[in-house]
Symmetry: C2
Subunit: 105 residues, 2 copies
DNA sequence: CGGCATCCCCCACGATACTG
DNA sequence: CAGTATCGTGGGGGATGCCG
């Protein structure tokens, strides 16, 4: 499970989806997750969908519109991720300090 | 930060150190973390020490004994990790189901 | 005992190009 | 627009061997 969360973009995408009121389009996610490639976006979303964390809805128009949203399972994951994110933000500075002190030797 | 946690053995080692009453020796950790190689154990511990999450104490005997323990920062990380672990255990089955259903198509 | 050093492999990820 | 296909790369991780 930590492997799943550990993916480079997973946490960011879950956060984006969680903070949106409704569904989010592929292109919106691409804009929101700065630096992500189309490939990794599609791949990560697919993996999240596979795990039942995200739903995918296609509007059969031309060109198509694809909408993503968290499932209830996905939202429950977000609540766990919030804890980790909060911890990280709170202690990031301390870790940086420790790292510099360690490297000075 | 998620990269740090995402390391294959980090979470397991933090858990081992957290559940021990006192310091833990290198070889004890090696036994506790089934499947870890000496290289990854040393490397992960070094990285944790660098980040100020773990202390390292060497008894200058022959052969040497090296003891590891969580710092207070490390213990605070463990409380965050517990949340994720709990989530994972609670929903592992649901995810497996979703995965199988998805793959069946 | 507790590590480094070395070699090797795999795959997550990136860049680019193509398509319904 | 929202993907697939293809190719190339870095580095995380395993196996083995040596050493104070």
């Amino acid at each position: 499970m930590l492997d799943r969360i550990g993916g480079k973009w997973t946490s960011m995408l879950v956060k984006l989806l969680a903070s949106a009121p409704d569904e989010v389009r592929f292109s919106e996610l691409k804009r929101g997750a700065t630096g992500i490639s189309q490939k990794m976006l599609a791949q990560t979303l697919r993996s999240l969908e596979r795990d039942g964390l995200v739903t995918r809805r296609v509007e059969p128009t031309v060109p198509p519109r694809v909408h993503y949203a968290l499932t209830s399972l996905g939202r429950s994951l977000e609540t766990a991720l919030v804890v980790v994110r909060t911890w990280a933000e709170a202690h990031m500075a301390a870790i940086d300090d420790a790292r510099r002190a360690f490297d000075r030797r």
